[in-house]
């Protein structure tokens, strides 16, 4: 895949091709955190200790705001003073119908399709606070490369997500290991937060996330959904 030279931010999500007419991405991108078994496993017995004191009960969610959006081919800026960035590859659900207090049984009927969402972060210690300074930086949420219609996509519960850095496999994760698979996650999220057509809900990434250094190119690929490619560059370069 070609690597472009444009620098995020302000990727226009309308330029992501949609196999699913007439939906457009709304610009609301939510992400489930700690929803992959490996993400809790790496924390080990810290989960029950301060400051957390217990495993999460409700879905742990983040928001990736509009300044973070980037497309495949965009360059991701590594901030000055930072050696490497975490690259957390997610399966993203694209909502097709207003979803408010949906049941597990009919949850997937509210999904229009799928895309890849890459949650980029400055490495940070601890999950107690929202970490906006590390996670909401310009260009820190590449997504795409297109929306694949649900009917055309493989089973979302049996996908392999591969992250390659400069062509070398850095992580392979399975959506089968999600703690709350798509239907359960949608039911739990829409209990308090209505999702609307075009909203994106990233399902959660495996841990530990691979890290990319300036000059490296990260390609995230999900079976049947395509691949996202982004080059990471230092802000001085």
């Amino acid at each position: 895949m070609a690597v472009g030279t444009s620098m995020a931010p302000y990727a226009d999500l309308r330029s992501i091709p949609m196999d699913v007419a007439p939906y457009r991405l709304s610009g609301a991108v939510y992400g489930a955190m700690l929803n992959h078994r490996s993400a809790l496993a790496v924390l080990g017995d810290q989960v029950g200790k301060p400051p957390y004191n217990a495993a999460p009960k409700a879905p742990v969610l983040q928001i990736k705001p509009r300044n973070t959006f980037a497309l495949s081919g965009d360059i991701i800026a590594v901030p000055q003073g930072v050696d490497e960035l975490e690259v957390a590859a997610n399966l993203g659900l694209v909502i097709g119908r207003t979803a408010c207090r949906v049941t597990r049984e009919d949850a997937l009927d509210h999904v229009a399709g799928y895309l890849i969402v890459v949650d980029v972060s400055v490495p940070y210690a601890g999950h107690h606070r929202p970490q906006i300074r590390c996670k909401a930086r310009d260009g820190f949420c590449p997504l795409g490369p297109r929306v694949t219609a649900r009917a055309l996509a493989p089973d979302p519960g049996a996908l392999r997500i591969r992250t390659r850095i400069d062509g070398v496999l850095a992580q392979a994760a399975d959506t089968a290991a999600l703690i709350r698979p798509a239907a359960e996650l949608l039911a739990a999220v829409t209990e308090f937060m209505t999702l609307r057509p075009g909203d994106v809900l990233a399902m959660g990434a495996a841990a530990p996330a691979p890290r990319a250094r300036p000059g490296q190119t990260v390609v995230v690929e999900i079976d049947g959904l395509g691949a996202l490619s982004n080059r990471f560059l230092g802000t001085g370069s």
């Binding site: 610009g27 300074r133 909401a136 310009d138």
Partner: protein, 252 residues
């Protein structure tokens, strides 16, 4: 100038104060303010909220104030206008309002210095940023189930031009529940003031027109019940009214 966005007689209008409990629509019609549906008064982009930004409020929650601003984000579905309804689930024990100064960005802000920060502000409004403390968990706290619930962030009634607010760091805030005052403070008590927040945020994320900073709440949060009327006032910005409703209205 104060401007509102209202729905009336089949369309969405810009409205200005008219006096006597009425507003004037841009097309000249004068309408009683309770005959309108009030929407958030500007096109809202990213909603950036501050926690524990008043020292007395932090103490009230038995928390230490931060060395760095405690920032969290809220989704678009949580927004409401003036005279809106906010749901209180029947199984919760502590749901509270938070009267906050909302700062609306007017032009792109990246790496803005404190001294230049206010030139990036288009205007201000009142925010009521509800929280349900029962749902707090210690993961990415405050979590979205507490803070980004449907219809739990009221904005309005007016968008007030920045030029009409001499000093955003010297405004009285008050909240009334069913007419009884429960919360009082002044934006001068913020730990991180408006200019400092814009400098801090724009150092790592580009702010755009329509992005809004909810700058935190002073001490005096109190539990509210279905049927309560909550009114948040900020000096020069108006009075933002909200009503708490129970699950029954939502068929729950």
């Amino acid at each position: 100038m104060k401007r509102a966005k209202v729905a009336y007689a089949g369309a969405i209008h810009e409205a200005t104060p008219h006096g006597g409990g009425a507003v004037r629509l841009a097309d000249g019609r004068v309408v009683r303010e309770d005959a309108l549906v009030w929407l958030p008064p500007f096109e809202v982009g990213t909603v950036i909220a501050l926690g524990l930004n008043y020292a007395e409020h932090a103490k009230e929650l038995a928390l230490n104030s931060q060395q760095e601003p405690l920032v969290f984000l809220k989704g678009p579905g949580t927004l409401l206008g003036h005279r809106g309804q906010t749901r209180r689930p029947r199984d919760v024990s502590f749901m509270h309002y938070e009267c906050e100064l909302a700062v609306v960005i007017g032009r792109t802000a990246a790496n803005v210095s404190r001294s230049d920060a206010l030139s990036h502000v288009a205007g201000y409004c009142i925010a009521n940023d509800y929280a349900i403390r029962d749902y707090l968990e210690n993961w990415y706290r405050p979590n979205l189930r507490v803070k980004s619930r449907d219809g739990a962030t009221a904005l309005g009634p007016w968008f007030v031009d920045a030029a009409d607010v001499a000093d955003p760091n010297a405004l009285d805030l008050r909240t009334f529940v069913n007419g009884r005052q429960t919360q009082a403070g002044n934006t001068s008590q913020m730990i991180f003031g408006v200019s400092q927040l814009i400098e801090y945020l724009s150092a790592f994320m580009t702010l755009s027109a329509g992005d809004v900073l909810l700058t935190g709440t002073p001490q005096g949060v109190a539990n509210v019940a279905a049927g309560d009327e909550v009114a948040c006032e900020i000096e020069g910005l108006g009075r933002l009214v909200n009503t708490i409703v129970g699950d029954d209205a939502f068929g729950i």
